[in-house]
Symmetry: C2
Subunit: 433 residues, 2 copies
């Protein structure tokens, strides 16, 4: 945790380059899993589940009894909190839904429009690991339900006792998901991509995961399978002015840092005093955090940057293109139009990232690792495809046909020209009669 | 060209499986080009341009003089036709633009919205080859211009004399593109993906191309570079009833078939008579077409399917998930809601695909090869990313903070809990005063 001064460092960006992950054998190991599942289906999945999850599973599906039992295993307080989060996410994502595009008559007699059609088969991956990521179930299940996707399948690794955490089962059902498979890792991605005897091949794969899952998604995407977005470690960039409370800034940096050792956290501020106070606060607050070991690793890659101005801090944020951007400044709304690259933005001192992680209503599945330059966070748009429609009347083709003939001729596509000409001829012949 | 009867063939879909392209050495050859351009920049591009395009080029950029001269080399008739196409494409694509999302107060004091921000650097590839694909320039340049992308770069291979076809230069300028590079093939994709001394690295790559270009896009996408969509050979699926004019059906099949030897064309109809008449018409009409050799190859993979009903024909179309779907039936509008998988749909006897290829207003850059199950045709959406914003007031965090604390605790993310708690504590302390 050292200060970087933009006045002294001509190329700050190189100092905050994202760590490159080390992929020893990862590519081949994942390729092997994909190949085996593709070739041997359920048998291969059972083998990998035995090997990686130390589980013997005959049937991968969560049973109706398991689904039903989930609610009873959770506190009312938790279920109420989850219901509030679900409601907020739904309220916000509902505004993203657009059924039909506007119909436009581009030329007299030529009408065009587009229509949103839900993707038929959706696969959602939810990681296992130290904590049950029920929040991600909501972030993917809610937009799928708003889009009206008819078949949503959820995959998550079984726990040591062969069950799934009740919070995941409960959150899934809140969003209408009842097809739940106890399959994890690269084998889950393979099952979704290729299908097996008991797992349907899906049209699009969503969800975060560890290095194996991420690599498996990358590999099936290269085969043409649709995935949500490329993945990378989570990150936060905070732009703050001198009046931002250092204790809040530090708390938000630490919340991001606890996600994983690969997380990157950055503060950029024109106030050297704030930067110094934040570093002191980070040291103080991290002392008794349960994930201290992870946080220490992650803080090694952190950066505290003192800029010439607030503008320069924001320029740096745009150049870094962070997943999460927190603007702890006097009048954050004034900066909104200047944000060019970010996944999700948190305005003011009382909007910590944790709000958006769980319950403000925005999606927390966001592009990271600089992908915010060209990708967006998950929305209802990701669960539909748009189909174009057009209809020409006889008047329409009489009007526009000659234009198309001229253009197709220049592109030397004579059969295109004739597909117009044959119709124009017929219409003109009929007219003469 | 043989008839397939669904009554006799239990699995028609396997009969119309898309051809798998043969990729002898392609992967390694393209990987080599990418590696060299990444490592040696402009020098490597010059070498590949010499090798593949047989051209010595010192400067890759089209000069202002070349841009200016283009208009004079084209007929007024052509320029007028192009202007009509551009206007129609613009009229239709303008309806796709949505600047800001609706602001939603999900909980009292918690406001969320999303904002569309144009992608900063766009790369567009336009193939060279037998004909100048100026129509694709419009299809990509117009939505980029509507989205407001500040930097759009166009790449196209130089012709034998080192120039670019004036129709491409003219169409580019119509849509506001003036940064034009004479670079083709995999080396163009590499230049866009990695940047060189004279070519800027772009944020997203668009455009069709030959097998090398397609493979290069696939490879850079697997490295995390954003591309428009995976590519495959063009295709058309026609659903027609007994009253569809066989000569029109045949003309549209042939128009698709002339694109390339890999194109697939399919007719599904409940009328055996129409199917037989169409086959006869195809034989007749193809006789004197200039691209007869290509068409003959492509027609080898064609299918004429006689279905039990119109419904079954449409089911087949949805299962095949075609790029182009033509509905030559009595009341096509009645079938619109039943279309589940298609890129662009053409309704009625007087809406040939050629209209949409050039000038109806819809986009002709469409998913193919079954990708329509999860992908959409190009629209303005592809040139922006959506950024999420949220703002909590003090009241907002007092309302929602406890919910987030509860949920974060269940996910065992204690630093998340504290980033809320530290703020709630401060507010409560202040209140007590």
């Amino acid at each position: 945790m050292e200060l970087i001064f933009t006045t002294r460092e001509p190329d700050v960006l190189s100092k905050i380059q994202r760590p490159v992950e080390n992929l020893v054998d990862l590519e081949e190991r994942v390729a092997f899993v994909l190949r085996e599942v593709r070739r041997r289906g359920d048998v291969a999945i059972r083998e990998f589940t035995r090997q990686f999850d130390r589980m013997e599973l005959e049937d991968f599906r969560a049973t109706p009894a398991e689904l039903e039992a989930a609610a009873g295993q959770l506190s009312d307080r938790f279920k109420e909190a989850l219901a509030t989060a679900e409601r907020n996410i739904r309220l916000f994502h509902q505004t993203q839904w657009r059924a039909n595009g506007q119909e436009v008559e581009t030329t007299a007699g030529i009408t065009c429009w587009r229509q949103a059609v839900p993707i038929e088969k959706i696969g959602i991956y939810i990681p296992g690991g130290s904590a049950p990521l029920f929040s991600t179930v909501l972030m993917l299940g809610v937009p799928a339900s708003i889009a009206g996707c008819p078949n949503v399948y959820l995959f998550t690794p079984p726990r040591k006792d062969g069950t799934i955490h009740p919070a995941i089962l409960y959150a899934a059902q809140l969003t209408g998901i009842t097809n739940i498979f106890k399959i994890g890792g690269a084998q889950a991605i393979a099952a979704m991509a290729f299908g097996t005897e008991s797992v349907p091949k899906v049209d699009k794969i969503f969800g975060p995961g560890n290095a194996f899952v991420t690599e498996a998604k990358r590999q099936v995407a290269a085969l043409g399978v649709s995935i949500d977005m490329p993945a990378g470690p989570s990150e936060v960039f905070i732009v703050a002015d001198e009046n931002a409370p250092a204790e809040f800034v530090a708390a938000d940096l630490l919340a991001q840092a606890e996600h994983s050792e690969e997380s990157q956290v950055i503060l950029a501020t024109p106030s050297e005093s704030l930067a110094r106070r934040t570093i002191a606060e980070v040291r103080l607050q991290m002392r008794d955090l349960p994930r201290k070991t992870i946080i220490e690793k992650s803080m090694e890659k952190s950066a505290f940057i003192v800029t010439r101005s607030l503008d320069e801090a924001l320029d740096l944020a745009n150049a870094y293109a962070p997943e999460h951007l927190i603007l702890m400044v006097e009048r954050p709304r004034k900066l909104v139009e200047r944000v060019r690259n970010a996944g999700s933005v948190f305005l003011g001192n009382y909007t910590p990232e944790a709000l958006g992680d769980y319950a403000s209503g925005t999606n927390h599945v966001l592009p990271t690792y600089g992908y915010t330059r060209a990708y967006s966070g998950i929305s209802v748009d990701d669960f539909v495809k748009w189909i174009y429609f057009q209809k020409a009347t006889e008047e329409g083709i009489l009007n526009l046909g000659p234009v198309v003939e001229e253009l197709a001729r220049e592109e030397k596509l004579e059969a295109h020209v004739r597909s117009i000409a044959i119709r124009l001829k017929k219409l003109k012949r009929r007219k003469r009669k």
